[in-house]
């Protein structure tokens, strides 16, 4: 797994360096103009967060049923990465909204439920850090809860009346906007893979260190 760091890091760096060129060449959206280009890294950051949540929720389920430490380590790593991508979405969104809507934040259904999802995974990390014995199982339950909430975050714009653009925007993108958008999605997924690989490796080494300390005590 450690061998994958270097190539992945190079791929991510190249993709993130190329992304601004593709975004700059993409045409302007007719009503919002230049600020709409935030879309190319706002939406992919949510896609990456949802993927990290799927990994966390899936690994949490495996951990609850099989008690495998590797699944627990993967879930913890994915939760931390999910918080990072959620933070990216929650910061880039208001920067776009300030120009497009005239306000930084609106307490409408989509934005509020997205914030709650971010808080759920911050809670996951806090439970793991300060929960004491048994907190791994409790955190796994929080991870599964987060996974269950995620479809509502995605579908919020179709369920409730909000000012946020609908989910139909992405499938209807013209090729000139679609190519840079899907390139950015791929870049975010590569970044997710890199961070997850590194974070899992860290968790593995921490577990080895704990085992060494326990062996020394015995």
């Amino acid at each position: 797994m450690k061998k994958a760091f270097g190539p992945l890091l190079v791929i991510v760096a190249i993709m993130f360096a190329c992304a601004p060129v593709l975004i700059a060449r993409a045409p302007y959206e007719s009503t919002m103009g230049l600020v709409q280009k935030i879309f190319y890294f706002h939406v992919p950051s949510w896609f990456a967060m949802f993927t990290a949540i799927a990994v966390c929720g899936g690994a949490s389920l495996v951990f609850l049923f099989t008690n495998r430490p590797a699944a627990d380590r993967l879930a913890a790593a994915a939760a931390e990465v999910a918080v990072l991508f959620g933070l990216m979405g929650l910061v880039t969104g208001p920067l776009w909204g300030r120009k497009a809507w005239g306000v930084w934040w609106v307490w409408d259904a989509k934005l509020t439920i997205a914030l709650l999802l971010e808080l759920t995974f911050i809670a996951y990390l806090l439970v793991r850090k300060y929960g004491g014995p048994g907190s791994d199982k409790l955190a796994a339950a929080v991870g599964i809860f987060g996974l269950a909430v995620t479809p509502f975050v995605y579908e919020a714009v179709n369920i409730w009346r909000t000012i946020h653009p609908k989910t139909t925007v992405v499938p209807k993108l013209p090729a000139t906007m679609g190519v840079p958008f899907w390139f950015c999605v791929a870049a975010y997924m590569a970044l997710l893979a890199l961070l997850l690989t590194m974070r899992v490796e860290l968790a593995k080494r921490e577990a080895t260190l704990d085992a060494l300390y326990l062996a020394e005590e015995d």
Binding site: F16, P20, G33, L34, V35, K37, I38, F41, H42, S45, L84, L87, M88, V91, T92, L95, W96, R98, K99, L191, L194, L195, M198, R199, E201, L202, R205, E206, T208, L209, L212, Y213, E216
Partner: protein, 80 residues
């Protein structure tokens, strides 16, 4: 005279008349328009900085664990 003075005073204190109709954002005077470029640059810069910062924290934690492991193994080696 006093009545005239108070009338003049009241007239001066009147708030400016608000615009009567909707003005599209792109027709506002340039001083009132919010530039998009700084927001776009801030968003992209935040993504880069957040990713770099997180990578750095993982790197730092990995080094810390490695150092602790080496110290522990050295201690065990000297104990034997």
């Amino acid at each position: 005279m006093a009545l005239l003075r108070s009338l003049l005073f009241a007239l001066l204190l009147q708030p400016p008349t608000p615009p009567g109709e909707f003005v599209p954002v792109n027709e506002l005077p340039s001083a009132d328009q919010l530039p998009a470029a700084p927001l776009l640059v801030a968003a992209y810069a935040f993504v880069w900085i957040a990713a770099m910062f997180y990578l750095w924290t993982i790197w730092r934690r990995l080094n810390k664990v490695e150092t602790e492991m080496r110290a522990l193994e050295a201690r065990r080696g000297s104990a034997r």
